[in-house]
Point group: C2
Chain length 144, copies 2
């Protein structure tokens, strides 16, 4: 479980409340990227009256602490996950809707190229590749 994460919350001087634990538990257990609304629904299992507003406040906090991050996939909303390797980017399958990670040097190459040749000092890189994952590509004729 997210023992280290809750510790980091405490270490940063924040209280360890029921809503925060619930959100962390949901994120830790989910294999998928979740929108706030869905995190809220699942969080209720851990603390019966967590409020959606608290879910948002918690996510914002975790983001500030670098413990969670939000991905935008093109529909209006944000999808959340526990923080992972900086250099990894997202692969978004437009058919099965799954979002995967891909590690590699691509982002690092871009950052250093921009720094070395264009004087652009990058702080954050948002990279989402939309397309068909291997599974879905093989099932072009399959059911939606």
């Amino acid at each position: 479980m997210g023992v280290d994460i809750t510790d980091r919350l405490r270490a940063a001087g924040y209280r360890l409340t029921a809503p925060r634990q619930a959100v962390l538990a949901v994120l830790a257990e989910s294999a998928r990227h979740l929108p706030a609304e869905e995190i809220h629904e699942l969080a209720v299992a851990y603390a019966s009256d967590v409020n959606l507003a608290s879910v948002y406040r918690t996510l914002t906090l975790l983001d500030e602490l670098g413990l969670a991050s939000e991905v935008r996939l093109g529909d209006g909303r944000g999808y959340w996950e526990l923080a992972h390797d900086e250099g990894a980017y997202h692969l978004h399958c437009t058919r099965c809707r799954r979002v995967g990670h891909h590690a590699g040097d691509a982002i690092e190459r871009i950052r250093s190229h921009l720094a070395d040749h264009h004087g652009f000092e990058s702080e954050a890189v948002d990279l989402v590749v939309h397309g068909r994952c291997a599974d879905c590509r093989d099932q072009l004729a399959g059911p939606a």
Copy 2:
């Protein structure tokens, strides 16, 4: 001016209306990426009663036709520009707020890497690098 673009609109069977011409004119003249609201404000100079809803409808249409595109910079809204080279990505300066383009093979490399080694067939790539442009990096002590 956007003669070719208005022609493409007509060619696709769409009417060339005042709001559409106004939006196109605004996009064509702007050096910056503009949010819909600002496009609307500027469009009024061309056609006095263009409505914000029509601006949105026009932008959506231009996007579908591949004539304009939207960038998401992290704040809630979309920033619009006339379409440009597919392989170019966005450099977003977090200090002066300017958004530049950067051409190069980075995106193409990512696409082919994913296709060749991971069976991921990419359809669209969203890449925004947030950071400090050369001008702003040199003025770290300057006014905000």
